[in-house]
Symmetry: C2
Subunit: 326 residues, 2 copies
């Protein structure tokens, strides 16, 4: 059994309140005499005291903990994002608990209920659900929350990339490579980013084939099977996992076909397939998110404006050669 304030009080021949004050440090601690302070500190160290944070949070209603729920932690992009957010929060004195909705709406709901009950001070959410109402239903009113990557209409505390601009720039690059007809590999339509990207693409090119499925590699691989024999200049995938799946299955496929993709394909420049990738800026997203959350945690009441982070277009050697064969 871990020692408590009361154990220390007994050992140091004083009261629980005094012990609490000493260990709290700060103003309260300064009003305690040097000898008692000494005895308390000694006892605490000797007994190996560790405060019970459950009890403390129950009393103070603060946990100095924020939760980050991502839609798929197996996706390296979210891994990188989580890592950056964790570091930024740590600098601000908060610790992070990470949750994974695993692209599962039921699980997301479950955690959305559970997390506040466990006493978090704030929440960063990459949501699956699509409306502010659905969110408000699950979350206690007043919980500082930042929506990341997939803004929800009406919720102003959000940090994201402009999907239209992002996708438009991707399309521009594809057009420059002579692409007219595309095959689209899209993630679930209830995810706004996938949906919007697919829409913009459809508005720019002739979509001769398409598939929808979970944002996992399998879907990308299935796409290539389904598209076999059809004719198009590019495959466009609405995220990196889908794109990797496409590439993974592409081994026996026309290598002159371009891949359009989002969010970082590893080792892209070594691949023989022409690739153009529209990358969101993970560092900036993480930084802005934490900044926005901490401001709320610090009790600022000024209105919060959505933050939009600029993006980058990256291509590999095979793509450049395709655009300008020299």
């Amino acid at each position: 059994m871990s020692p408590t304030l009361s154990d220390i009080a007994k050992d140091a021949h004083t009261s629980v309140s005094t012990v609490s004050r000493v260990l709290a440090g700060g103003n309260a601690a300064r009003r305690i005499s040097a000898p008692t302070t000494q005895r308390v500190m000694d006892a605490a160290r000797r007994l190996g005291y560790r405060p019970n944070l459950l009890a403390r949070s129950l009393r103070t209603r603060r946990s100095h903990t924020v939760a980050l729920m991502v839609s798929d932690i197996a996706n390296p992009w979210f891994g990188a994002l989580a890592s950056l957010i964790e570091q930024a929060l740590h600098r601000q004195g908060y610790s992070l608990v990470l949750c994974n909705s695993a692209e599962d709406v039921v699980l997301e709901n479950e955690y959305l209920q559970l997390l506040p009950q466990k006493g978090i001070d704030g929440l960063i959410l990459v949501p699956l659900l699509r409306s502010k109402q659905a969110l408000d239903e699950q979350l206690p009113a007043g919980l500082p929350t930042v929506i990341l990557d997939r803004p929800l209409g009406g919720h102003s505390a959000s940090v994201s990339t402009d999907q239209d601009e992002l996708t438009t720039r991707l399309c521009d690059a594809l057009a420059k490579a002579g692409v007219k007809r595309v095959a689209v590999v899209a993630g679930p339509e209830h995810v706004s980013t996938h949906q919007r990207r697919a829409e913009v693409i459809a508005s720019r090119f002739e979509v001769v084939a398409s598939i929808r499925g979970p944002a996992r590699q399998e879907t990308g691989r299935a796409a290539i099977v389904k598209f076999a024999g059809m004719s198009f200049e590019a495959v466009v995938a609405t995220n990196n996992f889908l794109g990797i799946g496409v590439l993974d299955a592409m081994i026996s496929v026309d290598h002159a076909c371009v891949l359009g993709c989002f969010d970082d394909i590893p080792l892209m420049h070594l691949l023989p397939v022409p690739i153009v990738c529209a990358n969101q800026d993970v560092e900036k997203l993480a930084e802005a998110t934490v900044k926005m959350l901490v401001r709320q945690l610090d009790g600022s009441k000024d209105v919060i404006e959505p933050v939009v982070i600029p993006s980058t277009i990256v291509t590999n050697g095979a793509f450049s050669k395709r655009v300008d064969p020299r």
Copy 2:
């Protein structure tokens, strides 16, 4: 303010304990009359009651929460592992909080202290620290703990791959490809897996160059710069991130040089570089880990034996051609 048992009691004209019993469900709930049960349920629903899990855990000393601390969540391999573990735990009725030590010993220590204070029932740890003593110093005695991936001498609750066998098989494959001299890119020596892998490699080949650094892509890239102009048949990296870094910098380098690596290089078979990869079995690791932890959580007192998971060797087309040029 979220409603409490007392609010419901008032609303349903009964006592807090009765409400508690009704809401608890199970045996206690069955001994309450139908009408009161009804009134309580109604009130609870109407007020939107959500139990305060902090208070409950404080009282019951159980949180139904386990923590997983990985050494680097930005590494997709750990992302996959985390995702699988989360799913398995969820099936068992536990929720997961994920922590990231980010290859930082100080941060690891901090979290190791913090987590138990927050009331977790169990811990799964991919440790940075190297000894059972160091671990026992941080953790309260009796906390169910499973060490994952990097066994600690003396701690029997561990799940891992046999690093010697894993590395030996990698070396066998390299030898078959005619490799004699290698350059080694190794992660920190205080991480047992990196260290052991490097040792085994050194015992099998002539190491003509080597570099050590954090297990990040930068280190792999730096290696290629450092090794420029030297002569060897293979570069061996002690994990996937290092390997990816090596590949990333390899663009202008001799493509006949083989890469030996661990834990999954994405899109390996599309790459023009000959690659052999020794893969640990993530699914089995996750499954065995959760099984071992849950057994402890259920209070089983029988002795725990370390679990060792078999591994797989994977090569790409470029490698096969190198072994047997036809």
